[in-house]
């Protein structure tokens, strides 16, 4: 609509010289010609997970600025961090409780001034002070979405023994070669170690020779058994809908989306445990846009309307307590647990590894994948 209006006004000769120049500037035409002040302010740049670039999740920002921010989509936080460190000027990043410390330690995260966020006081108090939201005594992430990582499977395509007693071991079982999909993440090694009997509290901080042994035993098996290692959720959802794969490491959105299409799918509570994460928005100090725009974007994410969209659309929880008051009751019932504290008590909450451990996992996982043939 905007575009057509612009063209109409241009044809009618109703556009001012300034508006024309601004439009040209949007194409990069004027950067050398125009005087500095007439170039429009830098657009906000956000590093986001695939799917979270939908305006449903930051409508208030769009209403205020009349346009969406720029997005750069990442598959995992480590990709995003490497991109920022390589010089990508992003303003806002969407890390999770276990990964935000990486951004703080790398010196690219800025402390949040929570008084500038109008919805801050409606956030679950447990999340306001949770590890990851607060790091080194500073609030570095505004918690927004929370949910689970677990095993999603097709009950119609798996034997009843598995359906009754689901286990992560399916990802390391040669009998299921080519019929499952792990995520392209070092979690494949961590979960493997857990299948081998190691508790999560030890598995997430494997290092050195123990890490290499775990990667050789479990990582290699996961890579060989998986049909593919998924990096974006639509890829794994399509494969699961068609029956190409019967089990996958998944988030709540997979189950919500497939059920909506009538595909039978279960979100398991495997005997080794399922995981809880909570993610949020972190202000980066590498950005060029106005800081107020970044705060407005974060605040839009914290709004109850965004929470409603998140709960109804993806089956994720939201950090704003009011979101649960206005969201569709049936959608909330489908989610099961609506209190993040209760959720965290029942499942394994992801933990933050040290930088050395994370670097070790990155390298070992990269090598493991490369050696598949």
């Amino acid at each position: 609509m905007q575009r057509i209006k612009f063209l109409d006004r241009m044809i009618d000769g109703k556009l001012s010289r300034r508006q024309m120049m601004q439009a040209a500037g949007a194409f990069g035409v004027g950067t050398l010609v125009l005087p500095r002040p007439s170039v429009a302010a830098e657009v906000l740049t956000c590093l986001e997970w695939g799917g979270y670039d939908s305006p449903d999740y930051f409508q208030a920002y769009v209403d205020k600025y009349g346009a969406q921010p720029n997005f750069s989509i990442f598959a995992g936080e480590e990709d995003a961090l490497a991109k920022v460190l390589a010089g990508f000027a992003a303003d806002v990043m969407h890390p999770c409780n276990y990964s935000v410390a990486r951004f703080v330690n790398a010196g690219v995260a800025a402390e949040l001034d929570t008084s500038r966020l109008s919805h801050w006081n409606d956030i679950f108090p447990a999340l306001q002070s949770a590890e990851g939201v607060v790091w080194d005594g500073k609030t570095v992430m505004a918690p927004a979405d929370w949910g689970n990582s677990s095993l999603a499977f097709r009950p119609d395509l798996l034997p009843p023994e598995f359906v009754e007693n689901p286990t992560w071991a399916i990802f390391y079982d040669e009998a299921y070669k080519g019929r499952v999909a792990m995520t392209d993440n070092e979690m494949a090694i961590v979960i493997g170690a857990m299948v081998g009997g190691m508790p999560y509290d030890e598995a997430y901080k494997l290092e050195g020779a123990a890490l290499e042994a775990a990667a050789k035993e479990w990582g290699t098996r996961a890579v060989n058994v998986s049909k593919f290692l998924w990096t974006d959720s639509s890829e794994v959802q399509q494969a699961m809908a068609s029956g190409e794969i019967v089990a996958a490491y998944a988030w709540n959105d997979l189950v919500a989306n497939l059920r909506r299409e009538g595909v039978p799918v279960e979100f398991a509570n495997p005997k080794e445990g399922s995981f809880t994460w909570f993610c949020g928005l972190t202000l980066l100090n590498t950005g060029k846009a106005d800081e107020q725009a970044a705060y407005d974007f974060i605040d839009a994410w914290l709004s109850p309307e965004t929470g409603k969209a998140l709960i109804e659309g993806s089956g994720y929880g939201h950090a704003n307590m009011k979101a649960f008051e206005i969201a569709d009751k049936e959608a909330i019932a489908n989610m099961g647990i609506t209190d993040p504290v209760a959720m965290m008590a029942d499942t394994i909450v992801f933990k933050t590894p040290t930088d050395a451990v994370q670097d070790g996992f990155n390298k070992v996982w990269g090598d493991t994948k490369a050696l598949k043939y």
Binding site: G76, E78, D79, L81, A82, K83, L85, A86, N105, A106, G107, G178, V223, S226, K227, F228, L229, A239, S242, E244, D355, D359, N362, K363, G366, D367, K369, A370, L371, K372, Y373
Partner: protein, 284 residues
């Protein structure tokens, strides 16, 4: 030219002599990155039955794998392109320009889209599988089509074939037709005439086409990412991984430079082996 080519390569070379420590770049010049690529160990990593005595075997293994995959793609491209170019040069007499435009039509869409199209063709519910199912040859979709090195080679071959047709066509088109007539007059069979006249005289174009396909495909990154799965990984994916995931740009730069050198050596050996000098001398 300097700004576009020399500076980025110089930057890459400089970067490869630095090291990464945590989030910081250590700017002391060192050969450590290169040493890491060739350092030996007693415990071999066995890959395809071949023991690799490197302590960091991934780059060496992926380099060999990439060269093999890329060579297969190159052979497939030449095998596809040569008959097409031959047809174009000798059988088409009218509207040649139109034919050439038709051949370049696949290039009107983005490379990414062409690769993605192959993902749809080869996929689980893709064109091949649903076609075979519809005519009753198979009941279960074939699983081996996508996410393996074969899928990467097929996609590369298709994507690059038009690049090969044009140089081969030009060299075939330039062949003096009176030579062919003379060969026939002097009693050569059609096959002999092809082997003794057409093939040698079109060699420069064919060699150019082979190099044009081989060099860029060794380091290709997007094709293995989309259709290769973990089994189809190539050396370009390792460079990307080192730069953008393992946050070790200096090592990534060292791998990239080593890759360039190895490709240069392979190309030099190839040209020497087919006697490129002789071909050039004959042309002159």
């Amino acid at each position: 030219m300097i700004a576009m080519l020399a500076l980025p390569i110089a930057a890459l070379v400089v970067l490869s002599f630095w090291t990464q420590s945590g989030f910081e770049l250590d700017r002391t010049p060192t050969l450590e990155n290169y040493a890491q690529l060739v350092r030996l160990t007693d415990e071999p990593t066995v890959w395809f039955g071949i023991p690799f005595y490197f302590s960091y075997p991934v780059p060496a293994i992926l380099m060999i794998k990439s060269v093999v995959m890329s060579l297969s793609a190159t052979v497939a491209v030449i095998a596809l392109a040569y008959p097409m170019a031959y047809f174009l040069a000798f059988r088409v007499h009218k509207h040649k320009a139109l034919w050439i435009i038709l051949i370049t039509i696949p290039f009107w869409t983005s490379y990414l889209l062409r690769v993605f199209a192959w993902k749809i063709v080869l996929g689980f519910n893709g064109a091949i599988n649903s076609g075979l199912k519809a005519i009753g040859i198979i009941d279960q979709p074939l699983e081996f089509l996508l996410y393996n090195p074969g899928a990467v080679v097929i996609t590369l071959a298709h994507s690059w074939v038009a690049f090969a047709i044009l140089p081969i066509y030009v060299s075939l088109e330039k062949i003096d037709r009176s030579l062919l007539e003379a060969a026939s007059d002097l009693g050569d069979s059609k096959l002999k005439r092809f082997l003794r006249i057409t093939l040698p005289l079109s060699a420069p174009g064919t060699v150019a086409a082979a190099l044009l396909v081989f060099i860029p495909t060794v380091g290709d990154y997007v094709t293995p990412t989309l259709v290769g799965g973990p089994g189809g990984t190539m050396i370009g994916n390792l460079v990307q991984e080192l730069f953008l995931k393992q946050n070790n740009a200096p090592l990534g730069a060292a791998v990239a430079i080593t890759m360039m050198l190895i490709i240069a050596v392979i190309v030099a050996i190839f040209l020497w082996a087919i006697g490129y000098r002789r071909i050039r001398a004959r042309r002159a």
